[in-house]
Symmetry: D2
Subunit: 307 residues, 4 copies
Amino acid sequence: MKVVKHIKIKSGMQVKELVESMSDAGFGAGKIARASEIMKKMFEDKECKVFFGVAGAMVPAGMKEIIIDMLDNADVFVTTGANLTHDLVEALGNNHYLADSKLSNEDLDDNKLNKQGIDRIYNVFMKNEVYPELENFFEKNFDEIKKCTNIKELLWKIGELVPENEKGKNSILKKCYEKKIPIFCPALADSGIGLMIWGRKAAGREITIDAFDDMKEIIDIAWTCKKSGVIYIGGGTPKNFIQQSLQFSKGASYGIQITTDRPEPGGSSGAPLKEGISWGKMKSDAEFVDVFCDATIALPLIYASVK
Amino acid sequence: MKVVKHIKIKSGMQVKELVESMSDAGFGAGKIARASEIMKKMFEDKECKVFFGVAGAMVPAGMKEIIIDMLDNADVFVTTGANLTHDLVEALGNNHYLADSKLSNEDLDDNKLNKQGIDRIYNVFMKNEVYPELENFFEKNFDEIKKCTNIKELLWKIGELVPENEKGKNSILKKCYEKKIPIFCPALADSGIGLMIWGRKAAGREITIDAFDDMKEIIDIAWTCKKSGVIYIGGGTPKNFIQQSLQFSKGASYGIQITTDRPEPGGSSGAPLKEGISWGKMKSDAEFVDVFCDATIALPLIYASVK
Amino acid sequence: MKVVKHIKIKSGMQVKELVESMSDAGFGAGKIARASEIMKKMFEDKECKVFFGVAGAMVPAGMKEIIIDMLDNADVFVTTGANLTHDLVEALGNNHYLADSKLSNEDLDDNKLNKQGIDRIYNVFMKNEVYPELENFFEKNFDEIKKCTNIKELLWKIGELVPENEKGKNSILKKCYEKKIPIFCPALADSGIGLMIWGRKAAGREITIDAFDDMKEIIDIAWTCKKSGVIYIGGGTPKNFIQQSLQFSKGASYGIQITTDRPEPGGSSGAPLKEGISWGKMKSDAEFVDVFCDATIALPLIYASVK
Amino acid sequence: MKVVKHIKIKSGMQVKELVESMSDAGFGAGKIARASEIMKKMFEDKECKVFFGVAGAMVPAGMKEIIIDMLDNADVFVTTGANLTHDLVEALGNNHYLADSKLSNEDLDDNKLNKQGIDRIYNVFMKNEVYPELENFFEKNFDEIKKCTNIKELLWKIGELVPENEKGKNSILKKCYEKKIPIFCPALADSGIGLMIWGRKAAGREITIDAFDDMKEIIDIAWTCKKSGVIYIGGGTPKNFIQQSLQFSKGASYGIQITTDRPEPGGSSGAPLKEGISWGKMKSDAEFVDVFCDATIALPLIYASVK
């Protein structure tokens, strides 16, 4: 039992100092500090393979650079089709936009946005005009794309095809391709990229991407690694797909989960990491922490304390 | 503005009466009543195609019969691999189990469960011994299964192969197969069924299930239907996959969403239905309601008031 | 470990049957059934004093009749000034109103409501015109009211003074007065009733209500009772004030808590009942359950299954 | 509509820089930045009276120094009896303690803690042995304390009596006394300090603290101030008591609310600030933001960006 020491704010304080001072505080503050410690250990442990899962719509929210940075420490990356589609949208030269911060969210008029051709993701906007550009990209490159046979190959191929210009270089897909980071997205059909593939198929073009083929790779990594660690941003399919693979591992030694989902309704996204011990996905003596926080707040804070 | 009338509980009260009396109450109670009204309208509207999305782990929680019942009113069904795997586990003769209700959930010892070969899903247990039976099922039937080329076909095929005995007949997969209800599961790789397919592939058997092929069917239904309605239990891929398809529709005319996820972190699961108006997924004059409640409480209540 | 049995909905089903069938289900459904069992036991246990705490704004939401009914089984009642003010507002002949259920909550225009003299409580409205009537009531009766010296006396006095007509008879305050149910409200200053007392004092009238005096009574009840049980609707001061008193008891033997507050930020409202064991507020072998649900949904359901 | 710019983490980054970069991001990150902007404006606006409300148990969690610091910018302070009791406990020389961060919270054994004389507040501990010291303090100083006639006087008096040593000087109560910051706590009876007063009264000592008397002062400040701003940490009685007073003001011009409570169940703690516009508590053109976050994470982050 260590004594609670009160956080003392100093002018010009570094994030590192703030998070360090949180380690003597309770509730969520202490968990941020704990996540920072675990992330440091996980990244420094040379034997540890890091499985990084990112759900939700972190890219439109402004978390792309942090994810790209963190990929330097990741051995496996699993994400939603949404994150990858928004990444591609930006790689092709488009932007996301912020609602006026003076408006409370409840004041946003979805009917008006619809008429303006704007799609809303909480307080972030995307213009419908991004779709024709996505279409062009897939149409233009389809002869290359259609050679792929599983989802990881397809995603690496898209990363390869993304333009080498300033926007394109700064992309999750490009990074995964260039650094050969295994990237998985089991529900890719459920995304804008999925719609692009459907569009080609609907137009009579042929492509067959096996839904199960790249499971072999992620399970192999889990099976063969000496140690593993997990970082889950927001649950969903990315978390569950990693957890499933870890059933074939020795159980993760490190774990960080950032989510605001409740455990009570029994979904995988809200389940505490501890539950994974019963399944053998997490070691019983693993170092892990569940951070209950909006990831757009917690992740920059934790990562800035580690970098 | 109608007057709040206080709910008056009578001994022997029917669920229908209770939910009706909730229509004069505020907060969540009023929303349960509103969901009941909308479900009734949606089911009675002959022009309306009902898209039913069920996330999470509703089957192990005891919601299977309600889902099977509701499928009589559904034109499209989208769910997680988890729900389908747990459905298959039961169809093959196994059970799920409840933790002792006298234990608070925090007292469950995951390490001990792990040693006993028990997997925990909040306060529900499944024995590891279900896996060899799943293996047998897939091994025995693989020559049939391997003919499938997309996920819907695969799921109908599994439904067809499920034994015709008492346990097997009472299955979501069997029902979808028999009633020819289009069933989609974009992240099927992320589930026990996915593991079974991987297992066969790892053993050198051949099967190719296209990840994008059955998108055509759900988008066709969305594109061609006069009117549509959505029922979302818990968000996730099932909700998002339906929402995506509805971008190609006139926009849903009815909507019910039951979730406990927060909107603020921007994920699709927690997004209010209203947000879909900006995307054209929901009509601006649609009748819809967001019910903030554990679905295992709200769904039986709402459905019992409608049946 | 008992087997999960799936809830089967029948047409015309009684609430009692539905809740009973939930006892074989997991997640929130099982907790509703558990709360029902515990409530029955608590009400039937002749040795048990029931401490009933109701936070929030349950009266404007339409829960007044259920609370009045449940008071027949309560030995101590603690609530917010808000609930009592709204109860008095109705006892004096006024109503609360519901926002149009077709509007999503985000569409309510608070600026417009303000100009119309309407105060909003989520999706429930109250007209500003209730205040002059409250003023009249306190002005007219002040010679009686000013004789009170503690909060419980004051609340019983108000209950006594509430008109004997149809509206007035149907009041929490009247019921507590008539049945001599000890009623506590430590933060009464923080409410419309508090404002009425302030108004008289500001006008030079004299009244002194001791803030601590009636603690003696609730602590005496806790101290002397053989057994105790708690029912908490929504946490807040009502829960905390009862919990505090129970530190002087043998610890509660039964407990039901219905709240949607999170435990992680450390507040009393979101703390699981289990935490009370460390403080001696709850017996280590008590029968208790935390129900994560909007109380306007869970309470009618649970109470209808018990009555 | 401004473009989303992705947060870029630099080594050695200051909190100020991080929060500034959040202003170009969406979801919670953008709200942290918005809260920082509003806090700066509110503190710099010489005409603005700042009403600061702190609920929950922020003191045991390690937030005491930040609160003491922020009091330099506060014109009115409202808090829970819990925060003040924990403040006094520390001022008298005791500590709070942290649970082992390697334990997940679910593993804490409340029964064992109870036998060890340790009270749990989520992951923070307090020893029962603090109570005799509180008793001594009140017993020793009762002749001074009993002269007080309202809650604010009582709290200032306690602040005056707190020892002038190192521990005592670093206290919220001392600070409010010394700087003559009006401090209110409508539910003081619902706290350890309340228990101490009850203890003296039970022992036959006399003291009368009027429950409504200091309402005059907070309403006067609200009534007479040119402009007002509110900062709410966690809702509860502190928020509601300030909001109530603001009904007598021109409506707040600035607002920051940090809470994880849901709006749907209709409680004051979870109500968005926007709702206050209908009541006239908030100006329709006020600058305000609702931050959905554990306050022990959000408050240090926001305050460090402002200081």
